[in-house]
């Protein structure tokens, strides 16, 4: 098992090289929200969220069900318009429609839905999403290997997969896309022990190669081991000032941290 994780080809995980003009921000502020209100079918799911995310952070979003965590992730992915307040993601304005389109390509969202076609095989799904995202097909096989999707699973229809295996497939798509910001909604859900460790490894590796991660999880123990900062939400906005566990640098230079704790 150990050798399997170490056999991962690290450069695949990092951040895709982007054009300079996509990154308008000069400082390391990746996401900045000020009093952001976002509506989900006319319900104020975010009710004035103020929040900052810096380059290289791994932020754990925490809060009760219906606190607005998933909506926050959708908003940061550029999928939702901002109703009032302001927000910048990678120097792009969330209130502007063309900017939101640019944000979408720079972020990766693992939502609670699988974003997979049930009727297609695992490989066909990943291949389709790679083509759609204009990602070179060469990365597919190594990534599938890394996520434990090669072999028997490779040509299995997604409808025949277990929920954990679907989660891995969705993750594989995000790994292939190499986004600058990883927005993961309950990445551990449905995953077995090895899968959960895999998420930790992927996240820390991605961060060490220039990505920034925000994720939600109800597994507080595991989440706090991974995160550099915890942000608590309630009623659609920040609960209290975030608690900083330790400096960012020491974390991101240790990609296989979760291996040690396990």
């Amino acid at each position: 098992m150990q050798s399997f994780w170490h056999a991962l080809e690290i450069p695949l995980i990092g951040v895709a090289p982007e054009n300079k003009e996509d990154l308008n921000s000069s400082d390391d502020l990746v996401i900045e929200l000020n009093d952001a209100v976002a509506l989900l079918d006319n319900f104020p799911a975010l009710s004035g969220m103020g929040f900052q995310l810096r380059l290289g952070e791994i932020v754990h979003l925490k809060g009760p069900n219906g606190a607005g965590k998933s909506t926050l992730l959708s908003l940061c992915a550029g999928l939702l318009p901002i109703h009032s307040g302001s927000g910048m993601v990678l120097g792009n304005d969330l209130t502007n429609q063309t900017d939101r389109r640019r944000i979408r390509r720079l972020t990766g969202l693992l939502s609670h839905e699988s974003s997979l076609y049930d009727e297609l095989s695992v490989y066909a799904n990943i291949k389709f999403w790679c083509s759609a995202n204009k990602v070179d097909h060469e990365v597919i096989d190594p990534v599938m290997d890394r996520l434990g999707l090669s072999g028997r699973l490779r040509n299995l229809k997604v409808s025949a997969l277990s929920s954990g295996q679907r989660r891995r497939t969705s993750l594989a798509v995000i790994v292939c896309r190499r986004p600058r910001i990883w927005l993961l909604d309950e990445p551990y859900s449905g995953l077995d022990d090895a899968g959960q460790k895999l998420v930790d490894v992927l996240v820390t590796n991605a961060v060490s190669f220039g990505a920034t991660v925000m994720f939600t999880s109800h597994d507080s123990k595991r989440a706090q081991d991974l995160a550099t900062r915890t942000v608590e939400m309630q009623g659609g906005r920040l609960k209290r000032t975030p608690v900083v566990h330790e400096p960012i640098i020491s974390k991101s230079t240790r990609p296989i941290r979760s291996e040690e704790s396990a």
Partner: protein, 230 residues
């Protein structure tokens, strides 16, 4: 843009190949509709002024297109439920795919599937309604142009209703009135191909082609505003 559209169309066709919803369920439905029409409409009475055609033979082109229009509703609903089910539309938007490409891709896949369906249904209709085809070229041109019309307009309206909980009932309400001219023209054109020796059918076919381009243009222009959930 064309590349993305083809990608989406190919994906939809591959899904149909593996799930066979259109050919396993929608196609039998349209055949059933043909048979039910045959039961409801007399095949004993001869229409005055026609060359000894019974009522059923006379109205066969209209019945055929009616069954195709109804089946197209299912095909379109099915095509969009694929994207709706697991939030794949959002994922397509995350990939930065142009809405016009999504429109073209979905419509293209529906066109191809409907074309196959029409050939099978048409063959059966010709047999059970005892139609003899006088002009196969006009018939083929009509099939092609009408199929484009139906799937382009259908995809456009599916975009209008996408994401709503009432879309299954709303789509027919919006789409069927729009289908009225297509149904009318396609029926005239098919009648011309079946009953008349001269080339009058081409006028109708050209009209259908113009409509097909019109709906394609409308869809490509407006799909951005329809799909942008924001």
């Amino acid at each position: 843009m064309i590349r993305d559209a083809l990608l989406i169309a190919r994906k939809d066709l591959r899904i149909e190949l593996s799930s066979k919803i259109i050919f396993g369920q929608v196609l039998p439905f349209s055949l059933l509709v043909l048979i039910l029409f045959g039961l409801a409409i007399s095949s004993d009475f001869v229409v005055a002024g026609s060359e000894n055609r019974t009522v059923l033979e006379q109205v066969a082109p209209g019945l055929f297109w009616l069954s195709i229009v109804f089946s197209s509703l299912f095909a379109i609903t099915r095509s969009f439920s694929l994207e709706d089910k697991n939030g794949n539309l959002d994922a397509l938007r995350m990939a930065g795919i142009d809405p016009a490409s999504i429109f073209l891709g979905k419509a293209l896949a529906i066109t191809i599937l409907m074309a196959f369906l029409e050939i099978v249904v048409g063959a059966l209709a010709a047999v059970i309604y005892r139609s003899s085809i006088l002009d196969i070229e006009i018939l083929a041109a009509t099939l092609a142009a009408a199929t484009f019309c139906i799937s382009m307009a259908g995809t456009l309206y599916a975009g209008v209703t996408a994401g709503s909980k009432s879309k299954d009932t709303l789509l027919p309400l919006l789409l069927l009135p729009t289908m009225a001219p297509v149904l009318l023209i396609a029926t005239r054109s098919t009648e011309a191909a079946l009953f008349v020796e001269d080339q009058t059918g081409w006028g109708w076919t050209i009209l259908l082609t113009v409509l097909a381009f019109l709906y394609t243009g409308m869809g490509m222009l407006t799909f951005g505003s329809l799909m942008e959930e924001s």
